[in-house]
């Protein structure tokens, strides 16, 4: 089981390191958001609480990096299916569970690495991170992206082709990001919007990341952690189940 998970993970990492252009573009996208939206909105909003807008937004951009990267990584199962490699894994004497878990851990490792590259830019925004904060941030990144990977695998488990791919980006990934409190504070929202934000698991990830990086939090780290933990258990269980049942 462990060896199988490791093998699946190793394949993900090997391909990730090899594909430099994707690495560059996956890091460039959040940096562009940070630069354009951060500067643009910052000029209008001024400060959010004690934070400059760009500092407020920065943890949100980290979570955005995790979200996109983990989702795409999980959805690469559709690629594997399309190009036949999934069959090679499915006929091997390893459990479906180890394939799903290996994929999730692989996706989480890649996402964390990408988010760490973004994290390097934090001093430029006037954010000082001590070693102790970084030691909290890294496992947190891994945990959040592992949870998102579970959601991605649930989506990919039944998809045969890429036809629904744009649908996923437009109706799942973008709304999850926009309604997570990543780019605007969630304290003064109308109640209907606030309700949506509250059922979005990503908003707990954004809030706890903001706590870990700036110390500012809406809900408190413990509450966030409990919700995220529950979501993680549920999505992992469902993703493993769907993956074992699927063809």
């Amino acid at each position: 089981m462990l060896k199988a998970v490791y093998t699946i993970w190793l394949r993900e990492i090997k391909k990730f390191i090899r594909d430099r252009s994707r690495l560059v573009s996956s890091v460039a996208q959040p940096l562009i958001w940070l630069l354009l939206i951060g500067t643009g909105f910052g000029a209008t909003f001024g400060n959010v609480g004690d934070l400059k807008y760009i500092q407020f937004m920065f943890p949100g951009i980290l979570v955005m990096t995790l979200l996109f990267s983990s989702m795409f990584s999980a959805i690469s199962i559709i690629w594997d299916r399309q190009f036949g490699f999934l069959k090679e894994m499915l006929v091997a004497p390893i459990s479906r569970t180890s394939i799903a878990i290996g994929k999730s851990i692989g996706g989480a490792s890649k996402s964390t690495l990408q988010a760490l590259i973004i994290l390097v830019f934090s001093p430029l925004l006037g954010i000082e991170l001590g070693i102790s904060r970084i030691l909290i941030v890294i496992p947190l990144m891994f945990f959040i992206s592992f949870t998102i990977s579970g959601i991605g695998i649930i989506i990919a488990a039944r998809m045969e082709s890429f036809e629904g791919f744009n649908l996923i980006i437009n109706f799942i990934i973008m709304p999850m990001f926009l309604l997570s409190g990543a780019i605007f504070p969630i304290s003064n929202l109308p109640s209907w919007l606030s309700a949506i934000v509250n059922i979005n698991p990503l908003s707990y990830g954004v809030d706890i990341m903001r706590w870990a990086i700036t110390g500012v939090t809406e809900r408190g780290p413990i509450y966030n952690l409990i919700i995220l933990g529950l979501v993680c258990i549920i999505t992992t269980t469902i993703s493993v189940y769907l993956f074992s049942k699927g063809k």
């Binding site: 093998t7 391909k15 999934l86 069959k87 006929v91 091997a92 004497p93």
Partner: protein, 322 residues
């Protein structure tokens, strides 16, 4: 000794029987051919044997392991080359094999040794560090055969191993297959719709509409068609048919614009035939040994349509290239 046993296996898709109550055995060490047109149920049967698909009813065992309950044992004892490529194009040939060796839990030293040996066997050792997406169709297939052998399976499944390949590569692949069976004693279970290829098998099962309609050695199957096949075109085929039936104990069949009949020692029979038909104009005559295609034709009344199949093959090949 039987290495594969299949009993009353059925698989339904939307109430249609893709595989309809089939039973047969495969002997250890033979090349077993599974022959039939596309959609006959070949791939469905292989998918069940490879534990990728659950049968609706019935039982199948490989090397004594039940394909439904003992999946991991079955998976360890079989190697598979799928109809469509199943390599990771973003990994090199060696990495693809290494991945395989790791998920099949082969100890490292043995694994590396075998990877080298197998890459040399399929003549890909000097290209082992190339990404497999840059490989040609034939190279991919060879690498997949090497991969299927890496964990020393008892049975190697080959689903249309030569489809879409040029004749030269097809011959190469057949050399490997025959070599594997002769030198390593591996049982080989392959599907094909190429009649010429099926002749290389120890035994053949012919499947049509999900049912096994014949199972024997190629020679025995052809023996059922007595003698040589004579194809005849005349000015009046139905009159010719009557005449032949009255002169000989042979029942010719009219298909299209030709008359088909089987006769022993065809070369010597043709002059007699011409004498019997002297009042008719004979426009063409052909004598040849029967092929498995004729067996199929005889059994089903249809030809395995090579033209349409080749079109499918080409489509598949072009979609692969993307």
């Amino acid at each position: 000794m039987n290495i594969i046993e299949i009993n009353n296996l059925t698989r339904k898709f939307d109430n249609k029987n893709a595989v309809d109550d089939i039973s047969f055995e495969v002997k250890e060490g033979e090349i077993f051919g599974f022959l039939g047109p596309n959609g006959a149920g070949k791939t469905t049967t292989i998918s069940i044997l490879c534990t990728l698909l659950q049968p609706t009813s019935g039982l199948a065992t490989i090397s004594g392991h039940n394909v439904i309950n003992d999946r991991d044992q079955v998976r360890s004892s079989i190697g598979i080359v799928f109809q469509d490529p199943s390599l990771d194009g973003d990994l090199t040939a060696e990495e693809n094999l290494r991945f395989h060796g790791m998920v099949y839990n082969i100890p490292k030293e043995i694994r590396e040794e075998r990877i080298e040996y197998l890459l040399k066997m399929v003549d890909l050792y000097d290209k082992k560090d190339e990404l497999t997406k840059n490989y040609s169709g034939g190279m991919k297939r060879r690498l997949e055969i090497a991969r299927g052998l890496l964990h020393y399976p008892k049975v190697l499944f080959l689903d249309e191993p030569t489809i879409g390949l040029d004749p030269q590569t097809r011959n190469r692949i057949w050399e490997y297959i025959i070599d594997l069976q002769e030198k390593k004693g591996i049982t080989i279970f392959l599907t094909t719709h190429y009649m010429e290829e099926a002749e290389n098998c120890s035994r053949i099962a012919i499947i049509d509409h999900g049912k096994i309609i014949a199972l024997d050695t190629p020679d025995n199957l052809k023996k059922d068609l007595k003698g040589d096949l004579i194809t005849l075109k005349t000015s009046d085929n139905s009159a010719a048919k009557e005449l032949i039936q009255s002169c000989f104990t042979i029942r010719p069949e009219i298909k299209g614009d030709s008359l088909y009949l089987y006769a022993e020692n065809g070369e010597n029979f043709v002059p007699k035939l011409f004498r019997a038909l002297r009042n008719l104009e004979i426009t063409s005559v052909n004598v040849r040994k029967p092929t498995l295609n004729d067996v199929f034709l005889k059994l089903t009344g249809r030809e395995i349509r090579e033209e349409t199949l080749d079109a499918v093959g080409r489509m598949r090949e072009s979609s692969r290239g993307r």
